[in-house]
């Protein structure tokens, strides 16, 4: 307990100096509303449900897009490692699309699917798929030859080997790719909602900012930032569990 306190003390110092700077009006209170006001605004928005409903629709978009990206991306990556023909056909496309800043696709997904959930889900799916694909590919490619050989000599079918040997050894890199995708999902979600949306965190931030209710805007910004952080931490705990067998 004491150890954790000392570790996170710098964050408390930052929070305290924020409150102090704002209360002493060293900067204008529109630019930096006091932390206590921001917390009060957050409680209000939780109470009237505004934050909860918008948050739910944001998390729904991110969740569906990310789930699709993980399923399709993992299949594609393992397919690339397992069948040379798939690799030859897909690898050049991956190489071209990987460096593309995925946020550039925001207007296109809007052209295709409009302003609602569909365009955000498509964007998150497209943006998050490639890191998963690359993780699965690199992991599956590096599965130990000796394991593959011994599985084969013991008469395992190709499908059995894929399931029992290649997939487990691809796991660490695959899970790492999914972690990148998780972070990307939040980035793409917020940027697409900031640009064009009728609900969601990004919409709420833009709406409150335009209204000049900056304490509420700060509250939403920090909520999103915290959710991104918490998702990463929870995911890492999950990964640690998943990979216990390796130690």
């Amino acid at each position: 307990m004491k150890h954790t306190l000392i570790r996170y003390l710098p964050l408390l110092i930052l929070a305290a100096s924020w409150e102090l700077v704002a209360r002493l009006e060293l900067v204008s209170s529109t630019a930096l509303p006091p932390l206590s006001d921001v917390i009060a605004a957050w409680v209000d928005m939780i109470k009237d449900g505004e934050l909860v409903t918008n948050g739910a629709s944001s998390l729904y978009r991110a969740g569906v897009g990310l789930a699709l990206a993980v399923i399709v991306g993992a299949l594609l990556g393992i397919g690339m490692a397992w069948w040379k023909a798939v690799n030859v056909l897909v690898a050049p496309l991956v190489e071209i699309f990987y460096p593309l800043p995925k946020s550039a696709l925001i207007p296109v997904t809007v052209i295709w699917l409009g302003f609602g959930d569909g365009s955000k889900i498509l964007l998150i799916f497209l943006g998050c798929m490639l890191p998963v694909t690359l993780g699965a590919f690199n992991g599956a490619r590096s599965s130990e030859q000796v394991l593959v050989w011994s599985a084969r000599s013991m008469g395992a079918s190709r499908l059995r080997m894929l399931w029992d040997v290649v997939l487990p050894s691809a796991m660490p890199e695959l899970l790492n790719g999914i972690r990148t995708a998780l972070a990307l999902a939040f980035i793409l979600l917020v940027s697409s909602e900031l640009i064009v949306a009728q609900k969601g965190f990004g919409y709420l931030i833009g709406f409150l900012g335009a209204n000049g209710t900056y304490d509420a805007m700060y509250a939403v910004v920090f909520t999103v930032a915290f959710l991104g952080f918490a998702a990463d931490r929870i995911y890492q705990m999950f990964v640690h569990r998943m990979l216990l067998w390796r130690q």
Binding site: L93, S103, A104, P107, L194
Partner: protein, 276 residues
């Protein structure tokens, strides 16, 4: 690769033919993709608004290039991305070194970095706009804010990973602290630091494009958003192609620099094996 390589059984001439065929096959999917794009757009299954023909998009890029807009927008976007990237690179390496060498710096910045790294920093954009306006300075600030985290994290990990024996033997041979830093620690840490920079560079471009899309003005992202507002989907697709080309060139350039800088390192050798 899981499949066993059986090439040694085949005569050399056939092997050459085979590898050329595989290399040729690599272009097939790209050509197929472009051809499908053109055909689907021309077939009338989709409206030109949903998918403008590739030829029209190329014509639009050509006219952008001819009028000079393309050069200006690319230059502006690259300027912002590179300015942000360099500030993040220098600042990140310095901060990472400070955290490795001073306990106080480590104690103060470690929780900030580990909490800040996984946060979607783009959510802070409206706050940065509120403070700094919508011009270059706030765009570059956003880029630095996003790109500095991978650099700091990589630098700290890199310096931790430098072999103790290297440092001990350098000390033994009478190296001063300054020489130790410049001649032993930094070179030994360089591969991992470069990996951090290779994450930060595409990130810089992503953030440059997003901030331009959100704040408007010149730049590839801004031009694309303007086209989108006027429902000019040819302009939108042209923007994607232009941004894709810039992104591809940046990533390739970074990989090239890495190979140059690390040609003395064993990883360069391993790398050349992988690309055979």
């Amino acid at each position: 690769m899981a499949a066993i390589d059986q090439t040694p059984m085949i005569p050399p001439a056939l092997r050459v033919l085979r590898s050329t065929l595989w290399a040729g096959a690599r272009i097939v999917s790209i050509v197929a993709l472009l051809a499908t794009w053109e055909l689907v757009a021309r077939s009338g299954i989709v409206t030109p608004f949903q998918l403008p023909a590739l030829s029209n998009v190329l014509a639009r890029i050509w006219s952008d290039a001819y009028s000079g807009d393309l050069a200006i927008n690319t230059a502006v976007t690259l300027y912002r991305a590179m300015a942000g990237f360099f500030i993040a690179a220098v600042g990140g390496i310095v901060l990472g070194m400070a955290m490795s060498r001073s306990h106080v710096a480590r104690w103060f910045f470690d929780p900030i970095i580990s909490v800040g790294f996984p946060m979607p920093k783009i959510a802070f954009l409206p706050v940065v706009i509120l403070w700094l306006g919508v011009f270059d300075i706030s765009k570059i600030t956003m880029i630095v804010f996003d790109a500095i985290f991978p650099v700091v994290a990589a630098t700290v990990i890199a310096i931790q990973g430098v072999e103790r024996e290297l440092i001990w033997s350098a000390r033994n041979m009478g190296a001063r602290e300054r020489d130790l830093l410049w001649q032993i620690i930094l070179p030994a840490a360089l591969p991992t630091i470069m990996t951090g920079l290779q994450v930060a560079l595409p990130l810089s471009l992503i953030v440059a494009v997003v901030t331009e899309m959100l704040m408007g003005g010149y730049g590839l992202g801004g031009a694309m958003m303007t086209a989108s507002r006027f429902a000019n989907s040819t302009g939108v697709f042209a923007g994607i192609v232009e941004i894709a080309v810039v992104g591809y060139a940046l990533v390739k350039a970074m990989a090239l620099i890495r190979r140059r800088l690390l040609s003395w390192h064993q990883e360069a050798e391993a790398d050349s094996y992988r690309h055979v």
